[in-house]
């Protein structure tokens, strides 16, 4: 490992899953250990990160990303394999580790910083920076139980980004706060990179991987699925995201109302291609198997890249009450001039009562492709129009 800051060789991690975990001596005596099942969270994972490089770790939920970070951090003991690194490792698996509500902001900064490996003197030195970063100058002598959740997250992150490790492990924590705060966090990560620190970053935000990582590894069911150039890895991940997921519940609901048909098309009948900046129509035909007093129809559009929703629309929230529904209905939504990234999008359509009872929900059953982008936006912030017709 001449030049590598972190080397993982043939790392495997097995968890024992107990059907009913014995947590008392009585249970341990009565039930033998053979009731345990093995679950391999990591299988023969090898990777190497050179000094000053940033590795993005991506994969589905449960693919072993966090387990890998925990093994490197020394929280979990590997079942097999070797982990080697030089220097000090700091793991940001949780913001504000050890925060206690009864302590003041100042006291929590010192407590949290000590968990991240800073001495009191080191914390003294960066204390003002932490407070400035969190923008909580006026609240440092207030007990954090009086903080809003946003303030807590800011304080936790502010401490986290002032640690002084050689190797920094970050698990999903970048995805907090408002956009401006996230921007500063990413700036701070860029600062770490300039300082020559080595970073391993777990994230679901695939754009982050492309923007800040110099290489990426995709894990799948505990194995390295692919690795190398971030663009390549992100592409691979997106492809597998489209594949079916066994835990995925495609359809739910009691079917008192049923989704009879869904049409997604440009609102302009003369057009056939969905493009950024063109009105998009999503039309849902409803069949009533039993009369219901009120209906809340909804749809969500998920990016095929990040698998995160870019927009969620509910007739209830639009102030368009529907009901009672006794016969077939057509609900036509029109998104005025949405701006899309090119790529594939998935659509979830739902029919629910206003208090959340599910009649029929089809998760990511529909999809459409945007061929060309005229602009770039993360989420769609336009007020859709909605029209309800009796059929």
């Amino acid at each position: 490992m001449s030049d590598a800051a972190l080397v993982v060789e043939h790392l495997s991690k097995r968890f024992r899953l107990y059907r009913e975990r014995p947590s008392s001596i009585k249970q341990r005596v009565l039930s033998s250990r053979s009731r345990a099942e093995d679950f391999w969270a990591l299988r023969d994972v090898s990777l190497e990160v050179s000094h000053g490089r940033s590795l993005g770790l991506v994969g589905h939920n449960g693919s072993g990303k966090t387990t890998l970070l925990k093994c490197v951090a020394g929280i979990l003991r590997p079942t097999d394999g070797v982990i080697r690194y030089r220097g000090r490792v700091a793991a940001l698996l949780e913001l504000g580790a050890g925060f206690h509500p009864e302590l003041t902001g100042r006291e929590n900064v010192y407590l949290n910083a000590s968990f991240l490996g800073l001495t009191r003197r080191e914390t003294d030195r960066v204390y003002d920076d932490i407070v400035n970063f969190a923008e909580l100058e006026a609240f440092m002598d207030t007990q954090v139980k009086f903080y809003s959740s946003g303030m807590l997250v800011r304080l936790g992150f502010a401490v986290a980004v002032h640690v002084d490790p050689d190797v920094l492990l970050i698990d999903e924590v970048l995805a907090v706060g408002d956009e401006a705060f996230q921007k500063r966090c990413l700036d701070r990560v860029a600062g770490f990179q300039r300082e020559g620190r080595t970073i391993v970053l777990v994230t679901h935000a695939l754009d982050t991987v492309r923007d800040i990582c110099s290489e990426a590894v995709m894990l799948d069911h505990g194995r390295v699925y692919t690795s190398g150039d971030p663009d390549h890895v992100v592409r691979e991940l997106r492809n597998t995201l489209l594949a079916s997921d066994p835990d995925f519940v495609a359809e739910e609901g009691d079917r008192h109302l049923e989704i009879a048909d869904v049409r997604i098309a440009p609102a302009d009948p003369g057009s056939t291609v969905i493009e950024s900046g063109r009105d998009l129509m999503i039309q849902v035909d409803v069949r009533a198997n039993e009369p219901v007093p009120a209906l809340d129809a909804s749809f969500a559009i998920l990016s095929g890249v990040t698998n995160h929703p870019v927009t969620i629309v509910r007739t209830k929230e639009l102030g368009v009450p529907i009901g009672p529904v006794q016969g077939p209905k057509r609900i036509r939504f029109v998104l005025p001039r949405p701006r899309w990234e090119p790529g594939r999008y998935f659509v979830t359509v739902g029919l629910e009562s206003p208090d959340g009872h599910k009649f029929h929900v089809q998760s990511q059953r529909y999809s459409f492709r945007v061929e060309e982008a005229r602009g770039r936006t993360e989420s769609i912030d336009v007020r859709p129009e909605v029209e309800v017709l009796d059929l």
Partner: protein, 316 residues
């Protein structure tokens, strides 16, 4: 199979100085070998966390109470006041009973608070254990640390009372005090390590500790004079071992006897035997043996704790 991709350097100034001298760490499936020096260094390196956790516990315990730590001092004061009065009514055989009681009770309180809190130390901090890497010893040590702070505060009250009440401290016995405190601290930490580690797998342990402490309390000469035990057990022996020596095998009995000798000091007052007959050297020996025995115990329990601690994050 190593995956390494050649990419543009992320640090334009090319600085890699921070890592040139950095220590190499290696982790395998094997638990790091237990060496006392290694663990002591690890805990010492994390002393900041320990200090912060103890500070946090004390702060949380007394925060939002107007009197704060005064509550901790009030405890022995009330004991002293109550027993000074009660003893007059009940006509206890032990002269200066409050001094006798408190000199042993404070030591016992340290032990029982640390072990009963320590049993929950790891499981109560499950979120930390699962998310942050730090020497796990810090958790039971912080329980012991909190109890130690209360012990020190309460001991100050006791010493003041001893001086003011006219009982007085016998200078020639006082050297026993640090020896007894050391034995108490080592024994307490040893037991706390054990119960905190075992309680992660078997939650019975915390209940067991609660019950064991009740029995243990009465096996320890705190409310009754040890001389009574000695005279009752006098000349009785099993297989050539004097029963009173067996009684002192209970480390807390030996340690509390050390505290008695150091603070209460009077072996007998006006013909009433209070403390076990025996020279000061004998008392010192008993305490020293307790200290050495506790040291061995600590080594064993620390080793157990270390072995089990690797799996804490999974078991919780």
């Amino acid at each position: 199979m190593l995956h390494s991709t050649a990419l543009t350097s992320a640090f334009p100034d090319g600085s890699s100085a921070i890592t040139a001298t950095s220590e190499l760490t290696e982790r395998t499936s094997e638990a790091a070998r237990f060496t006392l020096g290694g663990r002591v260094r690890a805990v010492w390196a994390a002393r900041e966390i320990l200090a912060n956790l103890v500070r946090k516990e004390l702060k949380v315990k007394y925060t939002a109470s107007a009197l704060g730590a005064v509550w901790s001092l009030l405890n022995p004061v009330v004991y002293l006041a109550v027993f000074s009065f009660v003893v007059r009514v009940l006509r206890s055989d032990v002269p200066d009973f409050p001094v006798f009681l408190l000199s042993g009770l404070l030591a016992w309180n340290l032990f029982s608070t640390a072990t009963s809190q320590g049993a929950r130390a790891v499981i109560d901090n499950a979120s930390l254990v699962k998310k942050v890497a730090f020497p796990r010893e810090i958790l039971p040590l912080s329980s012991a640390g909190v109890a130690l702070v209360d012990f020190v505060l309460q001991s100050i009250v006791l010493v003041l009372f001893v001086v003011i009440s006219g009982h007085g401290l016998a200078i020639q016995f006082v050297w026993l005090y640090p020896l007894a405190v050391a034995a108490l601290a080592v024994f307490t930490v040893a037991v706390t390590f054990w119960v905190s580690a075992l309680n992660v797998r078997y939650r019975d342990v915390q209940h067991l500790v609660g019950i064991a402490l009740v029995v243990w309390f009465w096996l320890t000469p705190i409310v009754y004079p040890p001389a009574l035990v000695q005279s009752t057990l006098a000349d009785s022996a099993i297989a050539g071992v004097r029963l009173f020596d067996l009684y002192l095998v209970n480390p807390m009995a030996a340690i509390v006897s050390g505290f008695h000798r150091a603070i209460y000091a009077d072996v007998s007052v006006g013909g009433t035997a209070v403390l076990p007959a025996g020279s000061l050297a004998w008392a010192g020996l008993v305490t020293a043996v307790a200290l050495i025995g506790s040291g061995v115990l600590l080594l064993l329990s620390w080793r157990t704790f270390h072995r089990l601690s690797g799996d804490f994050a999974e078991e919780l």
